[in-house]
């Protein structure tokens, strides 16, 4: 037995089952995509699958603090699918503008391929959730994005600077990028902003460059 044989057996039961099992096997690969963030204990880099779980839990947990009324279940589903394109396109370090721009086409192709494995209607639904994350045109999309900015900030703070320090990111850029937290979780952003300031005081994060 292997994956191919399992999918051949599933194919005999019809495409409704086989296509979905193939998609689930495909998803397993997100566990091998490494992010810049370390775990809060500093032991290793975080992967995008466990990150997605942590974000879904962040949404569930912080929903009562959301600025706008949100459908939390929809925000959870947005966060569950939001990094799936990284299976093909890899993780992009948020502070690397050139890499972010270059990844855009690859991510669109990845979305076509991976969500395209599913029956069309369901693939379209998952794709729409991913688009909602990318566009941030709905309260749920903005809330999901706020969660996705907060969680790595919490991890960096826990280990004294983490990927900010490793990549020489300055405090002004950390605030500019993570200021999106303010668009969905403004009370939490007030705390996060104080943590950023304290990280500068503690010498763990570079101050803004002087003019």
């Amino acid at each position: 037995m292997d994956k191919t044989t399992a999918l051949a057996i599933a194919a005999e039961a019809g495409d409704e089952i086989a296509s979905r099992l193939e998609f689930l096997y495909e998803l397993d690969q997100l566990k091998t995509v490494l992010r810049q963030s370390m775990l809060a204990d500093g032991s290793r880099q975080e992967n995008s699958a466990e990150h997605s779980w942590h974000l879904a839990m962040t949404a569930m947990t912080l929903a009562p603090l959301a600025d706008e009324p949100i459908d939390v279940e929809r925000a959870i589903k947005i966060l569950l699918v939001h990094d799936i394109v990284e299976i093909d396109a890899g993780d992009v370090f948020i502070y690397d503008d050139a890499q972010r721009a270059a990844a855009e086409a690859a991510e669109q192709e990845a979305a076509d391929r991976i969500f395209g494995l599913l029956p069309a209607e369901q693939g379209g639904e998952f794709r729409a959730l991913w688009d909602e994350y990318e566009d941030r045109s709905t309260p749920e999309g903005r809330f999901a994005y706020a969660c996705d900015r907060l969680q790595p900030l919490l991890l960096n703070v826990a280990i004294g600077g983490g990927s900010w320090r490793r990549h020489g990111v300055t405090a002004d850029r950390v605030k500019a990028i993570n200021g999106a937290i303010d668009d969905g979780l403004s009370q939490v952003w007030a705390v996060a902003e104080r943590c950023i300031d304290q990280a500068v005081v503690d010498g763990q994060l570079l101050p803004p460059p002087t003019a």
Copy 2:
């Protein structure tokens, strides 16, 4: 900056925020709880956080094949929280009956402690989701449990037996334990059962002991 300082800053903003951020830091530890299953590429053991993400995606993906009408969002939330107790109680190998019985009290204590970090109302909601997984008294609880039995089976099949082989589990026990898939996803169980039979034919899973 470290976790303690971040939580002290949060505490000044009030317990509604601080308790939730503490809970989110606590959850990070689920990424270090290792399961018996290997990833589908055989590269390493799976951890309980990425497993929980894969299960939530399994529920989203297989919902159209559910036997009973289900609230899929509730099933997703059940699966997101179902392994959180392992932060204190560790992962239990499903085929180890003695370990499973021994873990029960530890899991109850873990649920008290970890969900108890949250504001009472929300902690109660999360706890109820975990109870629903444990009790399997609702269609969502049964569907979630069926997903939780299917996913490791798919992983074991992908690597030619995996934890079944390593622990000398026989096919009759694999069918008995995973037969719960039949309680929520009967069409998928028919495929899984054929995969189990094929694994025996291929010498990757021990046949039932002869009387």
